[in-house]
């Protein structure tokens, strides 16, 4: 295991080309030891290719370093990596014990040592006593745990997880999520996992890499990526967002006054974005960050709207609000008391904290990776 603080995995300009098509272009990142990195993005964004490049299954340009060692000449079976595959890939003709002990066997351990460590690993994933069961007789959740045990028992330098939870049903998925996190914290193994499920990424990751079209759009903590998305694509992919074009009218101290044509005016925190009057911008506001209040006194920085629909989703109510220009926004209201006073047709004001207004310079910024972004 590496000393804390050192970089367990480093990628230096890794690219993968299939003919002329770039599955990965110029990916560079550093992952400190003992952290969990989530690779998140839509299908085809290259996240699995990236994972497999670290594993050594995909030829690539650029360098991969594991524990400061360059992996260029190191074949996959010598990289000391543990991996859990999307279909678990348990060896069907072997027992649970034989599956888990496989890596230890390859490393030449003695039978007694293997048996002991297998038992330990089974205890770690909560499946004591299942040594002699045949791998193919296990349920999905059990297979997943065995796959995890198999990957961890060899004390790998890096643990790779390829969409580990996608084959499980919702309840099991949430259970396994916390399991995986607990096990990772316990063992301290550096982990990279691939997922297309945002909740999973946000819940499990210490660091999140958002990818699209083979490129790395943003790397940061889940909070950073969620609250300060680097590009409009990131803003729209992670979580929901109401998008609109606006024009910057005035700069007032730490705020910028933005006019949403036909809708109203709001204030946005300026932060590091270079904004100037008359500049066209794109605005993204998350549904859960909108406060919906009955229209009482006039408020220059609130947007007038009417309640068009309400949907009860258990955890919160989802309001569809019709703005002055007849388009709609979505807002989530968790407080039932507030929500109960907002029947369909009620005139309301939508208020947003300036800090929660996500702004990108330039108009028509939807879904363009690589556009001008907040650093």
């Amino acid at each position: 295991m590496n000393s804390p603080g050192s970089h367990a995995v480093r990628l230096d300009r890794v690219s993968v080309y299939y003919g002329d098509v770039a599955a990965l272009s110029d990916i560079s990142l550093d992952l400190p030891s003992a952290e969990i990195l989530a690779l998140l993005g839509p299908s085809g964004c290259g996240k699995t290719t990236l994972l497999r490049s670290v594993a050594g299954f995909v030829p690539h340009r650029g360098e991969v370093y594991i524990g400061s060692r360059p992996m260029a000449r190191v074949p996959s079976h010598r990289r000391n990596i543990g991996m859990v595959f999307q279909d678990y890939a348990l060896f069907p003709h072997m027992t649970v014990a034989q599956n888990i002990g496989f890596g230890l066997r390859m490393r030449g351990l003695e039978r007694a040592a293997i048996l002991a460590q297998v038992a330990e690993a089974l205890a770690l994933v909560g499946l004591e006593g299942l040594q002699e069961r045949m791998a193919r007789q296990l349920s999905g959740g059990q297979q997943q745990r065995v796959a995890l045990a198999r990957a961890l028992v060899i004390k790998p330098t890096v643990l790779l997880l390829d969409e580990p939870l996608s084959a499980l049903d919702r309840k099991l998925r949430e259970e396994m999520r916390s399991e995986i996190k607990r096990i990772q914290r316990h063992t301290g193994v550096t982990t990279i996992f691939v997922t297309h499920d945002q909740d999973e990424a946000l819940a499990l990751a210490d660091r999140l890499a958002l990818m699209h079209g083979g490129a790395l759009l943003q790397l940061g903590t889940p909070e950073e990526v969620y609250r300060r998305p680097a590009t409009p694509f990131v803003a729209e992919f992670l979580g929901a967002a109401n998008a609109r074009e606006a024009v910057c009218r005035e700069l007032r101290g730490e705020f910028a006054l933005l006019e949403l044509p036909g809708v109203g005016m709001i204030r946005a925190a300026r932060r590091a974005v270079a904004l100037a009057p008359q500049q066209r911008v794109s605005v993204f506001i998350r549904p859960e960050r909108i406060a919906v209040v009955p229209r009482a006194t006039a408020d220059p920085h609130a947007l007038p709207a009417t309640v068009a629909a309400r949907t009860y989703l258990g955890r919160h109510l989802e309001f569809t609000l019709r703005l002055e220009d007849a388009t709609t926004w979505i807002a989530n209201v968790a407080d039932e008391v507030v929500a109960s006073s907002l029947g369909v047709g009620t005139p309301v004001f939508l208020k947003v904290e300036p800090d929660n207004v996500i702004v990108f310079a330039g108009a028509d910024q939807r879904c363009e990776p690589g556009s001008a972004a907040i650093p």
């Binding site: 299939y18 003919g19 999307q86 279909d87």
Partner: protein, 282 residues
């Protein structure tokens, strides 16, 4: 779940394929040499004399016609016998299916010679077909099945049955059972369901079976040889005679190449038909 494979650029697949390709190379060399031999005339020069000899003489054409004729009427009968068998196999309970499978597979793996010889015993004048019929007075004289077309035909119908049954069974068992249920729920009775849903879907298997059996019958050697007793030779017997008895390898080569080309032609036609079928059924 298979991942899409990138196109390989190094030589690994080629190395892996080498022994297999070498084996095929020997095979091709043999065919080519035969082709070359067929182009030699009696004096040793290059010509199409052997082909002309074969294709012009009525006597030889009779062989060809006879072989096509018998293959032509035996194959449909094999289909008639084989399809219900395959259907039953695909729709039966596991114990019945297992029994049928065992019988079928044992047939398939039993040597042609053994099976043909067994038919000799059955079809002969003293065989279990003639003896009871004679005994019961149904017929006055034994039915001449051996040494006649009838005996050979029976053999050509029965021996290749596995080749008809396997492809049809394979397709039938993969047909979605829900389709029949859907048809029934829409009001179709069993017969209509069969003819309008099941049978059309099984056509690829039927086609494969027909081709295999037809070619088997056309190029058969053992059955006409053992059951025809020299009185009912087919193309394959003729080729062997020319090569080994008459020792006219050049002539035999020419006939072989003709037979090969006919076989390839039939396979090609079926292949095209099969693609059309697949295209049409979608």
């Amino acid at each position: 779940m298979q991942r899409a494979l990138p196109t390989e650029r190094n030589a690994t697949p080629l190395l892996l394929l080498l022994p297999g390709l070498l084996t095929i190379a020997v095979f091709f060399a043999a065919v080519v040499t035969t082709g070359a031999t067929s182009l030699l005339d009696a004096q040793g020069g290059w010509s199409l004399q052997q082909y002309a000899r074969f294709l012009s003489d009525g006597f030889y054409r009779d062989f060809v016609w006879r072989s096509f004729r018998i293959a032509g009427y035996c194959t449909p009968i094999t289909l008639l016998l084989g399809y219900p068998f395959a259907y039953t196999m695909s729709r039966s309970s596991p114990p019945v299916r297992l029994t049928l499978t065992l019988v079928l597979v044992v047939q398939f793996f039993t040597s042609y010679i053994v099976r043909t010889y067994a038919l000799i015993l059955v079809l002969g004048n003293n065989g279990i077909i003639n003896r009871p019929l004679l005994f019961l007075g149904v017929i006055g004289r034994p039915i001449p099945l051996l040494f006649h077309e009838a005996g050979v035909a029976i053999a050509l119908i029965l021996v290749p049955l596995p080749f008809m049954i396997f492809p049809i069974y394979s397709v039938l068992k993969n047909i979605e059972p829900n389709l029949a249920v859907a048809a029934a729920s829409l009001g179709a009775n069993r017969t209509r369901t069969f003819w309008e849903v099941t049978f059309p879907l099984s056509l690829p298997g039927v086609l494969a079976g027909i081709v295999l059996v037809f070619l088997f019958d056309l190029t058969a050697y053992i059955m006409p040889g053992m059951l025809g007793g020299g009185y009912f030779n087919m193309i394959a017997n003729f080729i062997q005679e020319q090569a080994m008895a008459v020792l006219d390898k050049r002539f035999a080569s020419a006939i072989s190449i003709v037979l090969l080309l006919v076989t390839l032609l039939i396979l090609y036609v079926i292949h095209v038909l099969g693609s059309r079928l697949r295209g049409a059924s979608g």
